[in-house]
């Protein structure tokens, strides 16, 4: 029958990339920027992390090869090589993280430069970023080995990935509780922390108030002395970096460091759907992401009739239909606090008030 203890962890690991993506997009949209480039940003985040990790693993390999004699001697004399024991685990996490953040930051800056500084159309810019980002990811994912001239058959970053999927110490021994709450890698917990922090900042702080003001009415914010350009740049770039981490989580933890083209699929769009579903609240998004993650894989857990495989496809439709219903209902009820930021998608030009 339906096995809830094995279902929930699977739903959560599906939900984490969505949570990163939706938190990033909520922060972005709060500033009035409708960034449809999030799917592309997540791809770029993932592949940047992969490129960083790949080069690092190659460097470690050549270090090991160059100093093989000394490492062996150090191991024999019971004082292991300092770089390999302490440096490598630390850098294995740090380098992919930083490359991922850098890659997504660059995408965020590009988007801001075009839409905020040059006041370009946000939808077109976003779609172009998605085209570019997905192409960038797939191109380097498939061509990295050839371009770097490395001697490996495929991108399988298992050495780096194992540091991204360390489990909490009691995960194995705590039974169902451990499976449901403790069995995830550090990036999963980070995503929840980021979502809570984002919610608090948006709701409770002055910075959040200013950010919401910029998203609702940039002209009003401007005349109140808020630097609209700075807030838009800041929110969008931070949003892109958060979303990029979702890509990194997917490839490093969920996919155990194995890159395959188009495997990330339409999760980026699902993250944008989540933004509406949660009516622009990152803390709601924690549960909603897990719910969507669950809907995404629900078909694997429902009793399956081998003659009617087609119904799986209809189950996969559920997240989108549910989002549509939420979108329509919020617009019908027209409650003030549940609306998208009023200036969402519009460029702000000071002389056009």
């Amino acid at each position: 029958m339906f096995n809830i203890v094995s279902f929930i962890p699977k739903a959560v690991v599906q939900g984490i990339p969505l949570l990163y993506g939706s938190t990033g997009e909520i922060v972005t949209q709060k500033s009035g920027n409708l960034n449809l480039g999030i799917p592309g940003v997540m791809y770029v985040g993932a592949i940047s992390g992969v490129i960083g990790a790949f080069n690092f693993e190659q460097a470690v390999k050549s270090y090991e090869a160059a100093n093989a004699a000394e490492i062996a001697a150090a191991a024999a004399s019971n004082s292991p090589d300092a770089f390999l024991t302490y440096g490598v685990p630390f850098l294995s996490v740090l380098i992919p993280m930083l490359s991922c953040l850098l890659g997504s930051l660059l995408m965020g800056l590009l988007y801001c430069f075009l839409t905020v500084t040059l006041k370009a159309n946000q939808n077109v810019t976003g779609l172009a970023m998605t085209t570019f980002g997905v192409g960038f990811g797939n191109f380097f994912g498939a061509s990295l080995i050839k371009l770097s001239g490395a001697d490996v058959p495929s991108i399988a970053l298992t050495n780096t990935s194992k540091y991204f999927s360390v489990k909490l110490p009691f995960a194995e021994s705590a039974g169902w509780f451990g499976k449901i709450f403790l069995s995830y890698g550090p990036l999963a917990y980070l995503s929840i922390i980021i979502a809570i922090v984002a919610a608090l900042v948006i709701k409770k702080t002055r910075v959040g108030l200013h950010l919401r003001a910029v998203g609702e009415s940039p002209a009003t914010a401007d005349s109140a002395g808020i630097n609209v350009t700075m807030y838009k740049y800041g929110a969008t770039c931070i949003g892109c970096m958060i979303a990029g981490l979702g890509g990194l989580y997917y490839v490093m933890d969920y996919a155990t460091g194995v890159w395959s083209n188009d495997a990330f699929g339409d999760r980026g769009w699902l993250a944008i759907a989540l933004v509406i579903f949660t009516i622009w609240k990152p803390d709601m998004s924690i549960f909603a992401s897990i719910l969507f993650g669950g809907l995404y894989i629900l078909y694997l857990f429902l009793p399956m009739n081998i003659d009617h495989m087609e119904y799986q496809q209809l189950y996969k439709m559920i997240p989108y239909v549910v989002t549509l219903i939420v979108l329509v209902i919020t617009s019908i009820r027209n409650k003030r606090e549940n609306q998208p930021p009023a200036s969402l998608g519009l460029p702000y030009f000071r002389e056009e008030r």
């Binding site: 077109v124 779609l127 192409g135 960038f136 083209n261 209809l314 239909v321 329509v328 030009f349």
Partner: protein, 373 residues
């Protein structure tokens, strides 16, 4: 100190004095700059020299007579989707659901093609397919329009969701219709009888492609006339510029939105019909292949002008074919073309700024200022 310290060096002002010639010049400069950057990037990744890069790109798109015809056909398909989206965009209705609208059109076409083929003669079958496709696409377009007109639902997000609903619906029917059982795909529909296939015209290499191209040309002209020389086109324009003005002069805004989105969806459905009946004779979930999104950019690049759209879609298709050829000849991944397309679009998006705005320097010495970098 009369002047405060924080006086900015320059400010940005809207410009109204841009001549058409100058505007075109700026765009051409942007495209050339983008092409140069693309060539440099290609050179770094593949080691080819930049001239031979564009040589082999041209070879990929126009190398043989057949390649040229296929390029023309693909351009027509992209052009049709871009044309479909254009009236909605002119109305400032962001229909990014072209992907889904084309796909349901294709789905309806395949359904009729599969299920009614034994009962109808060939011409009637094609006619029913066409009507079904147009209705399906139209319905997919009208749903978000009704919600927009009634409750002001955000259409960008609505149409986006409809894409994935269409994809899953198609995936569902592909498994229902799969042939042979368990293959996970439909296969060529009516492969033996060729019922419902669009006919070849003439007995030359391009015969297979002529009809698609002809429909695209016809639609382009019709759309141009509709937008610029008809009352409905004018209404679309007014609603797009200012809904309040439209309401004031007595235009029923809701009606215009719904009507325009039906047209938009219907042309997408027509494109789906061509994709199934004229090009692939089968249906897959990736039939449209992201062209619904690319078309958004094509339509916008052409400033919603159907005639310029021909060149915009040709440019995008040329890049796709050309970069694909370059990448595969160097053993690299074909997604290279998407990187190049992205770069070109970024440049064109960026250059619009210099057409719409000018940078005015606040010093007395700089008279007027000039934003054309």
């Amino acid at each position: 100190m009369a002047k405060t310290k924080s006086e900015p060096l320059f400010h940005i002002a809207k410009r109204a004095d841009m001549t058409l010639k100058k505007a075109i010049l700026i765009r051409v400069v942007a495209i050339v700059a983008a092409l140069i950057l693309c060539a440099i990037i290609t050179m770094i990744t593949t080691g080819l020299n930049p001239l031979s890069v564009y040589g082999s790109m041209a070879n990929g798109a126009f190398g043989t007579v057949r390649k040229s015809w296929i390029t023309a056909q693909d351009t027509s398909i992209l052009l049709l989707i871009a044309l479909a989206l254009t009236p909605a965009f002119k109305m400032k209705f962001w229909n990014i659901g072209g992907e889904g609208q084309v796909l349901v059109g294709a789905l309806a076409t395949s359904a009729v093609m599969l299920k009614l083929a034994p009962y109808l003669p060939h011409p009637a079958l094609v006619a029913v397919m066409l009507v079904a496709a147009i209705l399906a696409g139209g319905i997919w377009g009208v749903l978000p329009a009704i919600c927009k007109a009634k409750w002001n639902t955000n259409e960008t997000l609505f149409t986006l969701m409809m894409n994935y609903i269409a994809t899953q619906l198609t995936a569902f029917y592909i498994i229902v219709w799969e042939y042979p059982k368990g293959a996970g795909k439909v296969g060529i529909i009516n492969a033996d009888t060729e019922l419902g296939w669009l006919p070849r015209i003439g007995n030359f290499i391009g015969g297979k492609y002529v009809l698609t191209i002809f429909i695209a040309v016809l639609t382009t002209v019709a759309m141009f006339a509709y937008l610029y020389y008809s009352k409905q086109g004018y209404e679309i324009c007014v609603v797009g510029e200012s809904e309040n003005t439209a309401r004031y002069v007595g235009i029923n805004v809701g009606k215009v939105i719904i009507r325009t989105m039906f047209i938009s969806g219907a042309i997408c459905g027509l494109t789906g019909f061509i994709l199934v009946a004229g090009v692939h004779q089968t249906i897959t979930t990736s039939l449209v292949g992201g062209q619904g999104f690319t078309a958004v950019m094509v339509s916008w690049l052409a400033k919603f002008n159907p005639l310029i759209m021909i060149f915009a879609s040709l440019l995008i298709v040329f890049l796709k074919k050309g970069a694909g050829e370059v990448a595969s000849s160097c053993g690299l991944n074909e997604s290279f073309s998407e990187i190049l397309t992205g770069i070109i679009i970024f440049f064109i998006i960026g250059c619009e700024f210099f057409i719409r705005y000018k940078i005015v320097f606040n010093k007395k010495s700089a008279k007027g200022g000039n934003g054309n970098v």
